[in-house]
Symmetry: C2
Subunit: 138 residues, 2 copies
DNA sequence: CCTTTATCCTATAGAATTAATAGGAATTTG
DNA sequence: CAAATTCCTATTAATTCTATAGGATAAAGG
């Protein structure tokens, strides 16, 4: 399960991708996506620090995607907000951490399964870009 | 990410699958799997209520799988311990709940992607049985 | 029957994470 | 200068996670 934070980030970025190149304020995004305004602000701030969006302050300011919509994947976004997508850290390439309780991880059947799971998840999330999300539905 | 509870449950059941038909005490499982003993007890208790294991009290008591190892999937176990495997409840067949913030879920691109993710995850977790886990490695 | 070894049950508690909100400083436009 | 907006730092309430504690209940074996 992903957090609201990650879901909201995906929604916000998808909205920005739909209105490509236009300045869009947090307020506008919050309304269009039904996202709590102040919460969204902190999320956008993080996305800005991570260079996914560019911001402009002041009246008629707002946010714009920092890259092409097809250069940002859902996997990128989820990892930024929630951390690794692998079900266990011992199966994560990006956030690997050893399981204290497993003696030999090479022989761990659960880890092996979780690596397959991660791969399956990745085959969806790391292939779906904001462009894909933006063009479907509403 | 899954919880320790789910991971420990998988480990415990895999251990039971390896020693098929033998009574195995919580103590023995805890040692073999490096699982905190008291925590494991509560987990086994839950697995018993859910009819995955059968228990026998008293001296020389312990736990045995209630079904054939190939009749219990990793997906079953994880859902019991952690709930739905879908990344969002709006994409979960087993634990469906509407997203308050999305107006029309049929047109929601994120939901669609999460349904694909769930399916991908399911294609691993719902096909891997305790038998599969038991026969690999140690 | 008594001791040992287990499961079983209920409660508790600290830590971490999540999901926000608050309040105001800094900046830009017109 | 006024209005709109991002930016920054804290704080909080609720929930979930990860266990541990302590004892009641039951079975086996001598
Ligand atoms: S090594 Fe992580 S579950 Fe065994
Ligand atoms: S319906 Fe759940 S994310 Fe849109």
């Amino acid at each position: 399960m992903i957090t609201n934070k990650a879901k909201y980030a995906l929604k916000a970025l998808t909205i920005l991708a739909r209105h490509s190149k236009q300045q869009f304020s947090a307020q506008q995004i919050a309304e269009e996506g039904n996202i709590p305004h102040k919460f969204l602000e902190t999320i956008l701030s993080e996305l800005k620090n991570r260079k996914l969006v560019v911001s402009r302050r002041g009246s008629s300011g707002g946010y714009v995607l920092a890259k092409d919509p097809d250069e940002i994947t859902a996997g990128d976004v989820i990892r930024m907000m929630d951390g690794p997508i692998a079900p266990l850290l011992c199966a994560s390439p990006t956030g690997y951490r050893r399981c204290e309780d497993c003696e030999d991880e090479e022989l761990c059947a659960i880890r092996k399964m979780m690596m397959d799971s991660r791969k399956a998840l990745s085959s969806v999330l790391d292939k779906r870009t904001l462009k894909d999300l933006a063009k479907f539905g509403r």
